[in-house]
């Protein structure tokens, strides 16, 4: 019984931790599928988290905070697009610029506006996204295992967790079942063909990058208004890069990328619980080893030792329209 409760506890934590990863890796998916490398997920999430934290603190409305986070995410994505699509700048350099800019600017503005050492004031009540109980969770919790699973793991999260699942489903639909998705995939594989077909390569890429910005915005808002009760400096702590790793792990496909996020989230949830625990046979696993595991696994995968991860063909190369 105790075993079951603690397992459910870990799974519950897994869902909470992996939500921003899922949102950010779906964000990256749209950008990279259109041929634009995005290592700026981290920066967009951080800036959005700050925007959400500040707006929620000032207005007291979590939804307004979410909206502003999305706007900030899209705005930074437009900067990325302006540099990489309009001016054919180096996409990695541009993403890095956004990360560094966000890391500096959030602290500068945070201290100038709130004077709390870079933090935003702590939020409560309507300023946050609070856990919601799904229907029937009380009645079903008496049902052994499945009912408990529903009550303990599925129910009781905030709305953004459920939005994240919806986003995965929608991403799959958009990418594989719509005309836009077909064009999106085409522009990431062979932009010249798309251009010859009479479509605007930059138009498609700009819309993909905008979707990416919006989704990273939601991921950022989750960090400061749902998972935590304020913005803290550097609160993304590499999650943007983990999301990128998950995207590669999922071979640039929505559902596998989601599972990669869940796996990385699970590792994170387990790492906290394994601290100082001595396991049979293996002994004590250093927390740092589990924390580094997503990065190590990604390197191993990229090296082709466990399957092959093939990026969209045109990713990273600016498109030059023939004259």
């Amino acid at each position: 019984m105790e075993m079951l409760t603690s397992t459910f506890g870990v799974l519950d934590a897994t869902l909470r931790v992996s939500t921003p990863l899922i949102l950010a890796s779906m964000a990256g998916l749209f950008s990279e599928r259109s041929g634009i490398v995005d290592i700026g997920l981290e920066g967009k999430m951080l800036a959005a988290a700050f925007a959400a934290g500040s707006v929620a603190a000032v207005t007291g409305s979590a939804w307004l905070a979410l909206l502003c986070a999305v706007i900030v995410g899209v705005a930074l994505a437009m900067v990325h697009g302006f540099a990489c699509i309009t001016h054919r700048g180096n996409q990695v350099v541009s993403g890095l610029a956004i990360n560094i800019l966000a890391s500096g600017l959030t602290v500068v503005l945070g201290i100038a506006w709130f004077r709390q050492g870079g933090q935003t004031p702590s939020l409560s009540g309507d300023a946050r996204f609070l856990p919601i109980e799904l229907p029937f969770n009380q009645t079903l919790s008496d049902v052994p295992i499945l009912g408990q699973f529903y009550a303990d793991v599925i129910s009781g999260h905030n709305i953004i967790v459920y939005i994240a699942w919806l986003v995965v489903f929608l991403s799959w639909v958009v990418v594989y079942r719509t005309r836009f998705g077909l064009r999106l995939r085409a522009v990431g594989e062979n932009p010249l063909a798309v251009d010859t077909g009479g479509l605007s390569v930059s138009g498609l890429r700009f819309s993909a990058v905008a979707i990416c910005g919006g989704l990273s915005g939601i991921a950022g808002a989750y960090l400061s208004t749902a998972q935590n009760a304020s913005f803290v400096r550097e609160m993304t702590a590499g999650q943007g890069y983990i999301a990128l790793a998950a995207l590669i792990f999922g071979k640039w496909r929505p559902v596998p990328a989601m599972f990669a996020c869940l796996m990385f989230g699970f590792l994170d949830a387990v790492a906290i619980r394994l601290q100082g625990v001595v396991l049979p046979v293996i002994g004590e696993i250093p927390v740092q080893a589990i924390q580094a595991l997503p990065y190590v696994l990604t390197v191993v995968l990229l090296a082709g030792f466990i399957g092959r991860a093939t990026a969209p063909k045109a990713v990273g190369t600016p498109f030059v329209k023939e004259r």
Partner: protein
């Protein structure tokens, strides 16, 4: 704009001086706008920064101490850039370079004389940094995994390894903070104030140490290597066109690995300044983002050692002047420098070509038409 401006050659002074300077000005103007937005007078801020960076002896020392780090990481990024490789892993390579210094000094510092310890420490910093760059390079050359992603991942892996080692293995017994014991004094690089005192010059104490000279020697070697040796020629050829290099009998795989190892070693030398010169013990996060700043430095200095020295000095001024600024104006924090760094990477890196069409148009207006030949 009806003509394709990217095919029109500009005279060197426009390409090498005017456009980069305009880009940096754009970045600094944006930084000024941010300062205005938080209610700080940018002109006053610039005054404080310049005073903070050059106004007194100690400030100059600090400025040059930061400059030293940026020269190492800037050169590291530049060498890789010439081979068309983007080494984002300077941060991790510098960190592991520190581990090299730590391992060598913690085992040998009481047995060997200074004259042996210092070269050993420098070699260890370079070797460990190179080794940390070798793995991503090998994976890129032989397994086709993208160097950008692997070096990012290796930064995080390096951070985890260092936390583990410092917390569990290398920590000085009986203390709380994860730091190694102090090295024996024989392993310390002389501070600049000590060094100059020997020649009768009195300067104030600062973290500046003789590794600045080593950084300048590295600049010279990188220049010779890239522009005056066969290997450098092969490196640039391979970076410019891999297929052309292959036809010319150059092995791109060897180039990728050697370029990255040199790059990693240069990044590892940050530990020479930080660990051997200043802290004299191994500690967490001594790299403090210098590896990433190296990217901005390299972009700004257009991957040339002379440009890198100038850009490193500018970043040294920004870092030290920024500290003074944060001290004088409470509304501003040191992170303002990080934001400026981001803006510089954006304008002189990602948007480097933004102004070029305008400059070409202005240039064409002022020069006779037949003087311009398309290339």
């Amino acid at each position: 704009m009806s003509i394709n401006t990217s095919n029109i050659a500009l005279p060197g002074w426009l390409e090498i001086v005017v456009i980069p300077v305009l880009n940096i000005l754009l970045a600094l103007i944006s930084a000024g706008l941010i300062m205005l937005a938080i209610g700080v007078n940018p002109v006053e801020a610039v005054g404080i920064m310049i005073y903070g960076a050059f106004g007194y002896d100690e400030a100059i020392g600090y400025t040059l101490y930061y400059t030293t780090n940026f020269i190492f990481t800037g050169l590291a990024v530049a060498v890789a850039f010439h081979a068309n490789l983007f080494n984002i892993g300077g941060e991790g390579q510098a960190y592991i370079g520190g581990l090299g210094v730590g391992v060598v000094f913690l085992t040998l510092d009481s047995y060997l004389p200074t004259l042996l310890l210092i070269p050993l420490g420098i070699a260890a910093a370079g070797l460990f940094g190179a080794a940390w760059a070798f793995i991503p390079a090998w994976l890129q050359a032989h397994r086709g995994s993208h160097i950008v992603i692997t070096t990012i991942m290796f930064n995080f892996i390096a951070a985890s390894i260092m936390v583990y080692l410092l917390v569990n293995v290398l920590i000085k017994p009986g203390q709380m903070s994860p730091e190694s014991r102090l090295f024996d004094e024989g392993a310390w690089l002389p501070f600049m104030h000590e060094f100059l005192a020997r020649f009768g010059f009195e300067v104030s104490r600062s973290p500046l140490n003789v590794s600045l000279f080593f950084a300048l020697i590295c600049c010279l070697f990188v220049w010779i290597y890239i522009w005056r040796t066969r290997w450098g020629y092969e490196l640039r050829t391979s970076g410019y066109s891999e297929s052309a290099a292959r036809y010319a009998g150059i092995q791109p795989k060897t180039i990728i690995i050697s370029a990255m190892c040199i790059s990693g070693a240069l990044a590892g030398f940050v530990a020479v300044n930080e660990i051997m010169g200043v802290h004299h013990r191994l500690l967490l996060n001594f790299t403090a983002g210098y590896g990433f700043t190296g990217i901005a430095v390299s972009l700004m200095g257009r991957n040339h050692p002379v440009g890198i020295i100038v850009a490193s000095l500018l970043f040294g001024i920004l870092y030290q002047g920024g500290a003074e600024l944060a001290f004088e104006i409470p509304k501003i924090t040191r992170e303002m420098v990080v934001a400026i760094q981001g803006l510089i990477i954006l304008f002189s890196g990602a948007l480097a070509l933004m102004l070029r069409p305008w400059v070409v148009h202005i240039y064409l207006k002022f020069s006779s038409v037949d003087a311009v030949e398309p290339v």
